[in-house]
C-alpha cells in the first residue's frame, strides 16, 4: 500500500519486521523478494511517487578532490529512484572481478561469482533481457563491434568482446513497472516523503534500535523494526552511517574507517587512440546486428593478470572522414584538416560512399576510447561537510575523488597496447596513441559516467570493510546494506545489473532470517 508521512501525526512510532530505506533498484529488489510474505515491511522513500525539485536538492554537496563528481546526477529521490533515469545498460560481473589480485591491495570479494548466477537470471527477467545472450561466443555475430572487427575473432585472439544488453524503458523503470505490485501489496507499505536522517543504536551497541524519518514540513516519526536495510545509494548510505554518531562517535560500521572510503567509478577517456585499419574494408549494415546489444573489447583476463592491470573496456568509434557529408557541416575541415586529408584515399572514399548509398557504413579509421575499473583506495572518499547542512540539519557530502592513480593510468596505456598487438597479429591495422594520452592531459578530463561504488565495502573481516558476505554490517545484528556501496571492486561493467542480483540475494537471505 502507498502511504505518505504527511498522513501521520508527528512523533508517531511506526513498527515493522523489516524497514527498507530507499526505493531504487536495490531497495526495490529486496522489497520484491518480501512481497506476499507474512512479514510487515516498511519501504521508505525520501521523495514522493514522482520526482520533485525540493527533494532532489537533498543530494547537493561539494567536491574537494582533484576530480569532479556530480553529486546530484544519476540520483533521483522518488519511487524507483535511479531506475527512472538510468540508461538500462546491463552486463554481469566477470569471475575475474571477484578474485583477489596480488597487485590490488583491497581486491577480492568474500563471495564467488557462482553465488550470483541464479540471481543474475532473476535480475535479467526483471529487466526484460536474456541472461543467455551474455554468452561471449555470439559476440562477434551479434554486436556492431564484433562485425566491424571480425579479424579479432581468432582462436588465439588477445582480446575479448564483452556483451552489454539494453533493458528497455518499460522494464528498467522500476518505479513504473512495479507501482501496482507495491500499491496493491498487503504486507508492504511504501512510505513516501520519509527521509531518514539518523539511525539509532540500541543501548548494548549490538543492533539498530530505530530510525528517525522526517518530511519537508518538519514532521518527524520513529520507525522500530526487527531488521533494517539501507538501500539509498553509495553516496547516501555512508552519509547516513556517518551522521549516526550518537553511540559510535566515528559513525556506524566505521571502526576501521571504511565508511565513505574506497569510492570508485568508471572513469572514461575518449579519443586516447587511433586505429588505422589495413585490412580490406567492407560495408556493415545496421540491420546485420542486434541493436539491443553493444560490446566493448578488452584484453583477456589472463593478459590483465600477467600485465598487472585493471579491467577496462575499449570503445571503437569510426572516424567521420571526407566521405561523410557531416564532415563538411561540422567545421572539422578546419580543426582536423591534417587528419582528414592525410588519410584520404579516393578508392576508400568511393567504397564508403557506395556503402552509404545502401544505408551501410565502412571505415578504415577509428577513434578508441577507454573506460577503466578503479582500484579500491582510501585516497577516494567522502566525508560529512559539517559547515553545510541540508534542511533536516544533516551535513552534506564533501567528496574527495583523487586523481587517476598510476595503476589506472597504466591500465589505459596497456589496454591500448593490447589492442595494438592484436591488430598487428591479425595483420589488420595499426594503433597510435594520441597526444592527449601521451602528455597525460586526458587524465584531467571530467567524468560523466557517474557510477557510485564502494563506500560501504563488503569484506571477509571487519578490518577490511563495512559489511560481511551477507551484506550485514559487521558487529551489528540487524543492519544490512544493499546497492553498489557494498561492492569491494568496481569491475568495468555498469553496476545496476549486479546491484539487483546482489539485492535479490539479500532478499532471500532476509526471508530465511525472518522465518
Amino acid at each position: 500500500m502507498f502511504k505518505d508521512l504527511q498522513q501521520f501525526n508527528s512523533n508517531q512510532v511506526l513498527t515493522a519486521d523489516v524497514c527498507i530505506v530507499g526505493s531504487g533498484p536495490a531497495g526495490m529488489s529486496v522489497a520484491k523478494k518480501l512481497l506476499g510474505t507474512k512479514n510487515k515491511v516498511l519501504f521508505l522513500e525520501s521523495g514522493g511517487e514522482e520526482p520533485s525539485v525540493e527533494y532532489n536538492k537533498l543530494n547537493k554537496g561539494k567536491n574537494s578532490g582533484s576530480r569532479f563528481l556530480s553529486l546530484d546526477a544519476s540520483r533521483m529521490r522518488c519511487f524507483g529512484g535511479a531506475s527512472r533515469i538510468w540508461a538500462g545498460v546491463c552486463s554481469p560481473f566477470d569471475e575475474e572481478d571477484f578474485n583477489s589480485k596480488s597487485f590490488v591491495a583491497l581486491s577480492g570479494w568474500p563471495i564467488a561469482r557462482k553465488v550470483l548466477h541464479d540471481y543474475y537470471h532473476e535480475a535479467a527477467e526483471m529487466l526484460g533481457i536474456s541472461y543467455e545472450a551474455f554468452d561471449n561466443s555470439d559476440s562477434f555475430t551479434n554486436s556492431l563491434n564484433g562485425l566491424s572487427f571480425p579479424e579479432f575473432n581468432r582462436k588465439d585472439s588477445l582480446l575479448t568482446n564483452t556483451i552489454y544488453q539494453h533493458s528497455d524503458s518499460t522494464n528498467r523503470n522500476f518505479g513504473k513497472k512495479y507501482k501496482k505490485l507495491f500499491s496493491d501489496s498487503k504486507n508492504i507499505d511504501v512510505l513516501f516523503h520519509a527521509t531518514v536522517t539518523k539511525l539509532n543504536v540500541a543501548k548494548n551497541g549490538k543492533k539498530i534500535q530505530s530510525v528517525q524519518v522526517e518530511d519537508l514540513s518538519g514532521k518527524k516519526c520513529t520507525i522500530n523494526a526487527t531488521i533494517y536495510v539501507l538501500a539509498s545509494g553509495a553516496l547516501e548510505n555512508p552519509r547516513l552511517l556517518l551522521n549516526s554518531f550518537d553511540y559510535f562517535s566515528y559513525g556506524i560500521g566505521n571502526e576501521n574507517g571504511f565508511v565513505g572510503s574506497c569510492f570508485m567509478s568508471h572513469p572514461g577517456f575518449s579519443a586516447v587512440g587511433e586505429v588505422f585499419k589495413t585490412s580490406k574494408g567492407f560495408c556493415i549494415s545496421n540491420n546485420s546486428y542486434s541493436s539491443n546489444l553493444t560490446s566493448q573489447f578488452s584484453n583477456s583476463s589472463s593478459t590483465n593478470q600477467s600485465l598487472q592491470i585493471l579491467r577496462h573496456g575499449l570503445d571503437m568509434k569510426y572516424f567521420r572522414d571526407l566521405a561523410n557529408p557531416s564532415t563538411y557541416f561540422s567545421g572539422r575541415l578546419l580543426t582536423e584538416y591534417e587528419k582528414l586529408f592525410k588519410n584520404f584515399s579516393l578508392r576508400e572514399a568511393i567504397q564508403k560512399t557506395s556503402c552509404r548509398f545502401k544505408g551501410e557504413y565502412s571505415s578504415n579509421l577509428w577513434n578508441v576510447g577507454v573506460s577503466i575499473e578503479q582500484e579500491p583506495s582510501k585516497r577516494n572518499y567522502l566525508k560529512l561537510n559539517n559547515s553545510s547542512k541540508d534542511i533536516f540539519g544533516v551535513p552534506t557530502i564533501d567528496m574527495f575523488w583523487s586523481e587517476i592513480s598510476n595503476l589506472e593510468k597504466k591500465t589505459v596505456v596497456e589496454s591500448l597496447k593490447g589492442m595494438g598487438r592484436e591488430f598487428a597479429l591479425s595483420d589488420s591495422g595499426r594503433v597510435r596513441l594520441t597526444e592527449a594520452l601521451l602528455s597525460e592531459e586526458i587524465f584531467q578530463s571530467e567524468d560523466s559516467v557517474n557510477h557510485h561504488i564502494g563506500t560501504t565495502r563488503m569484506a571477509k573481516t571487519s578490518d577490511k570493510g563495512v559489511v560481511d558476505k551477507n551484506c550485514k554490517v559487521f558487529n551489528l545484528s540487524n543492519l544490512y546494506i544493499a546497492g553498489s556501496s557494498v561492492f569491494p571492486t568496481s569491475s568495468i561493467v555498469n553496476p545496476t545489473f549486479t546491484i539487483i542480483a546482489l539485492a535479490l540475494r539479500l532478499g532471500d537471505h532476509l526471508k530465511s532470517e525472518l522465518v
Binding site: K417, G420, R421, A424, L425, R430, R432, L433
Partner: protein, 120 residues
Amino acid sequence: MRLTRRKFIIGSLVVIASPIIYKVTVPVISKQTGLELFFSNYKSPVTLNNLSKLSCSIDIELFKANLEQLLIKNPQEHQWKHEIINIIHKDYQNAKVEIADGWILSETELCIELLRAKNV
C-alpha cells in the same frame, strides 16, 4: 625438328642474357651490402617522426650484428622476410612492444627503424 636461323639467334640470346638478368634482378645479399639492400626492400609499417629522440630496448649495435647474421643465413628476400615476420610476430605475442611517436610497435620493428635512420 628444324633449327631455323631465327630460333638459333633467339635461343642464343636467351642463354647469354639469362645469367646477366638474374644477376641484376635477384640481388645476392653479401655482408657488405646486406643492410642497404634489406632497408631498400623492407617496408616500414608506419612513418615515425623525431627518430633521433627515440630509442629501443635492445642495444642497437647488437641488434645490427644479429640482423646481419640473419641476412647472411637468409640471403633471399623471401627467406629474410619470412624470418623477420616471425620475429615480429613473436614480439607481439610476448608483449615485447614499444610506444614510438605514439605508434605501438614491436621491439624489432622499432629497432629496424632506428637502424635504418642510422644507416641511410
